[in-house]
Subunit: 247 residues, 2 copies
Amino acid sequence: MTLKAQFDHTNCGECPIRHRAVCAHCERDELKELENIKYYRSFEAGQTIIWSGDPMNFVGSVVSGIASLTQTMEDGRTQMVGLLLPSDFVGRPGRETAPYDVVATTDLVMCCFRKHPFEDMMVKTPHIAQRLLQMTLDELDAAREWMLVLGRKTAREKIASLLSIIARRDASLHHSGMAGPIVFDLPLTREAMADYLGLTLETVSRQISALKKDQVITLESKRHVTIPDMGRLMEEAGDDTDGGFLV
Amino acid sequence: MTLKAQFDHTNCGECPIRHRAVCAHCERDELKELENIKYYRSFEAGQTIIWSGDPMNFVGSVVSGIASLTQTMEDGRTQMVGLLLPSDFVGRPGRETAPYDVVATTDLVMCCFRKHPFEDMMVKTPHIAQRLLQMTLDELDAAREWMLVLGRKTAREKIASLLSIIARRDASLHHSGMAGPIVFDLPLTREAMADYLGLTLETVSRQISALKKDQVITLESKRHVTIPDMGRLMEEAGDDTDGGFLV
DNA sequence: AGGGTACTTTGACCGAAATCAAATGGAAAC
DNA sequence: GTTTCCATTTGATTTCGGTCAAAGTACCCT
């Protein structure tokens, strides 16, 4: 069951996503306090929000747009290690510095809380620490699922896996059922997809073309994707687990 | 700073590792309760401790030996997603089922706690939830660091990265300083190394031979490794971060 | 409309790692 | 001792994805 499914109530103030993510019981007192310390930040596509190693003085969640967590080697090779879609949480309570770069992949709005007040609240409100533990375990599962993709899947399977994740996340946002074709816009450039999948952008492009030729997907434009048969796509991804993905 | 460094006191009863891992302040009351519900389990090399999807009714930590977390596709491709060395924690408070197989890579002793009593204690003792959150964040960082290895490093760099991690963990166990050669036994078969690195066992063998030829490492036997110059090895691994690895 | 820029596709070629296959080594069992 | 079994090494060949290069496409900006 996803995070969204567990806490999908709407009476959580003007930043509902954030509260759904943190407040397990949506109690009014906790909410009031969160309301008092929250603020919004906007970023442009391409902007780096936090540099690896820098002090990170806030936590927050994505309201709209896409952010990514990336690691870079000295010679420039980069690997995306997380994809943050709306409602995803960013931040490490109890940590001083960021362990990797956080980059706005598209224009982005985040709902933030200064770290220290948030940590104080965590101490006063055990629910929150436990909720954060659950969320972190979910992220850990997603990261490990992704290790299988990076370590053992072919380029074609990697592309199918990524499309599958984005399609599933997007479908759950739009409350559509599991039947029928799924339509969405790819929020990533070919290069960003390559960085996520451990491929080159040329290989990404070639494999997308191949999936199109084999009618696993349809492209109305470079970015606008239709998936006529989700089951077929998941076969292509080599996925036995029909769910469970979280990132 | 590693987990070990933060909690390296010795007055924690007969299962000190376990308590170092969970009890942030080593308070006597908590310890007593933990003592009452703990028990030990032994496993033989190769034994599967938990199957992915099975109910998991305990949490615990590795006392001696090595366990690994692995994911397997239908066609048999497998990816190791975590390596559990002595003092590492296993288990998901708040989760019913295991998300991947846990396998004893060597003969193994674990110190376990039934899950429900442990969860009850977690609720009563906020420290523990917060400590577990910290540990889970560490694991998440390690998993993401490993994603860079899997996605972007060459076979030679992958091998060097793995040797580097094991050497560092082993060195910290034996309290040796950072200077001088490091000697240890490889606790993994070539195949297990391959599964961890997303390679084939042949490639692992070839790259180890190559590192030996280039005198980055010395092999007294197939498994007994000497690293004359840790800095050199880390260069080979492409590591800028001279530390931080946890798994 | 024209020109610039950034993103994407496609082609030709190359190389690192996979695959297939055989030989070697080392330890336990008979 | 030698047989058996398993882990490991090494060799020959193939293949998938990377690299280098060029062309195509869409969008923005005067």
